[in-house]
């Protein structure tokens, strides 16, 4: 039952995280500049707030869900080793020596 949920990809890779952060910072800053200028021109600070809130909402939609664009450079993991019993698993050198004493 849970495998269906677990199969939904929820992560971002490292480049994706950086991209997401840059995107939301850019959107919020641009909307802040636009809102400030617009509010200064029409003399309504409320519109500045609304425009920044709109930028916030847009960046929420764009960067909160892990869209596929944030998963383009997955980490190259080592291939999984075959399962083996505990005794056969590689041990640290010191422990191994003691064991064969």
């Amino acid at each position: 039952m849970f495998s269906k949920f677990n199969s939904i990809p929820t992560h971002m890779d490292y480049k994706g995280q950086k991209l997401a952060e840059q995107i939301f910072q850019g959107i919020v800053l641009v909307s802040a500049v636009i809102g400030f200028v617009y509010g200064l021109v029409i003399e309504q600070f409320g519109w500045t707030v609304y425009i920044v809130l709109a930028g916030f909402a847009i960046s929420c939609v764009l960067t909160l869900p892990p869209w596929p664009m944030y998963r383009r450079s997955p980490l190259a993991w080592q291939p999984a080793l075959p399962e083996s019993p505990v005794e056969a698993a590689p041990k640290p050198e010191s422990l191994k020596k003691k064991k064969h004493k």
């Binding site: 952060e21 919020v28 003399e43 929420c60 909160l64 422990l95």
Partner: protein
Amino acid sequence: MLLVMQAADQRAEEESFRTGFRVTLPGTTDRSFNGHKPEYKAIVFISPSFFCTRPFYRMNTALSRANSLFAFSLSVMAALTFGCFITTAFKDRRVPVNVHVSRVMLKNVDDFTGPRERSDLGFINFDLSANLQPIFDWNVKQLFLYLSAEYATKSNSLNQVVLWDKIVLRGENSNLVLRDMKSKYFFFDDGNGLRANKNITLTLSWNVVPNAGILPLVSGTGFVSLPFPETYETTKSY
């Protein structure tokens, strides 16, 4: 959570090495407490993420992104608010005011709120005109206007009495033209300082209520000084 790992047995040590827990395997004895002092190998800290690894303790989740996005937006909003304050902080918010007093009346009545003696009570009718439009900008929510009388008496070098006030909201008609207004509040002196007072000055001042920043108190340019009558009006009923 802190666990002390001890070397008790070879297998146990290996098992401990693998799992991070102190382990005594069945069929062996935990010799560390048996006669000699336990030998502390390592102190193992187990972070909370040991107990729930997925998905709450990952570094970057939708929740953590939401947190940083919210914090960043809030900081930007604070900076904008400061910008709103700084663009209007050095503005001159004085405007010319026309005050004209059309009628002055002086009575001598019992002041039930004050010293319970007969005190001077003034009645003033006034005309007021001021264009407040230049005061309003994007950092002004409302103006609190008040008309105050200032005068000196023998007992006090400065008396200030608020006679009338008005709130002008942003977006309301800010060109104030008022004719033959009565004062809202009693103009009581705390003695008999109003009679024959030669110099009573009426000034319109205002508090500028801002969106952000300081709450400046501004006096309008333009005031009127008037003498008060020498005699009391006597009325049969009031």
